[in-house]
């Protein structure tokens, strides 16, 4: 039902929200020795969500580890600039997806009200 109404956007919104948490984790661990920054392979994760829906978020195959431009001595691979840009990009994409979902909802509401 959900999929029929919102199409790809419902799944994408959920995934965007999860990715936001992941990027926030990277930012939080910017000073933890040995922490390896992670991101998700968005296309693969979305594909999985749409086709099977059974693969839960957090399964290892969606995660990709960041390759640091310059490895640091303490083994931490977080580069703050990169994480901030990824976070901002993700936030904008979230807004965009949210706008699509809102559009769908508005259309439905209008149809129901019979305006």
């Amino acid at each position: 039902m959900n999929e029929q109404i919102f199409g790809i956007h419902g799944a994408a919104l959920e995934l965007r929200s999860q990715r936001m948490g992941l990027l926030a984790s990277n930012i939080a661990n910017a000073a933890t020795p040995g922490y390896k920054a992670r991101d998700i392979d968005f296309a693969a994760a979305l594909e999985d969500k749409l086709t099977s829906g059974s693969v839960p978020f957090g399964s290892e195959r969606h995660f990709v580890y960041r390759l640091p431009t310059m490895p640091s001595l303490d083994g931490n691979t977080v580069e703050l600039g990169r994480e901030q840009i990824a976070f901002t990009e993700n936030a904008v994409a979230y807004s965009a997806t949210l706008a699509f979902v809102q559009g769908k909802v508005n259309t439905l509401t209008r149809a129901l009200k019979g305006e």
């Binding site: 939080a28 661990n29 933890t32 957090g58 901030q84 807004s95 909802v105």
Partner: protein
């Protein structure tokens, strides 16, 4: 996690922020003790550092961090010959705390920057959550 609550973006940022606070306080204590003088080498103040560790919440895939504890640095105090100092030992030496003020200032600045980063990320996330909630 100590309590069984599921980790959210808010919990994650809160923990990381308190860890940064510990780090900043440690650096501030070091700065406060810079230049303190003692009679013996063993008594002299040694700088403290916060040690960070990742805290992974498997259910949500979020990774927060916390301060695992404080370690005392093992640097030798500076021996200074100052025979007229009231704390000077038999040889006329005093021991000064080995605090590098510049390094501590840099530590505080870095900590503050990371704190700001966390606040910024939280603000953005909070705004998006509110937008989603308020959308009719």
């Amino acid at each position: 996690m100590p309590d069984n609550a599921r980790m959210t973006l808010f919990g994650l940022t809160e923990r990381a922020m308190s860890a940064q606070l510990v780090r900043m306080n440690a650096a501030a204590s070091n700065l406060a003790n810079a230049g303190s003088v003692t009679r013996t080498e063993a008594e002299a103040y040694r700088p403290i550092r916060a040690v960070f560790a990742t805290e992974l919440d498997r259910a949500s895939g979020l990774a927060s961090m916390h301060s695992e504890g404080l370690v005392r640095e093992d640097t030798a105090p500076t021996k200074r010959y100052d025979p007229y100092h009231p704390l000077a030992d038999a040889d006329g030496n005093v021991f000064e705390a080995p605090v590098d003020e510049t390094a501590e200032m840099v530590e505080i600045m870095e900590s503050a920057r990371q704190y700001q980063n966390l606040v910024q990320a939280l603000q953005t996330a909070k705004q998006l959550m509110l937008d989603t909630l308020r959308s009719n």
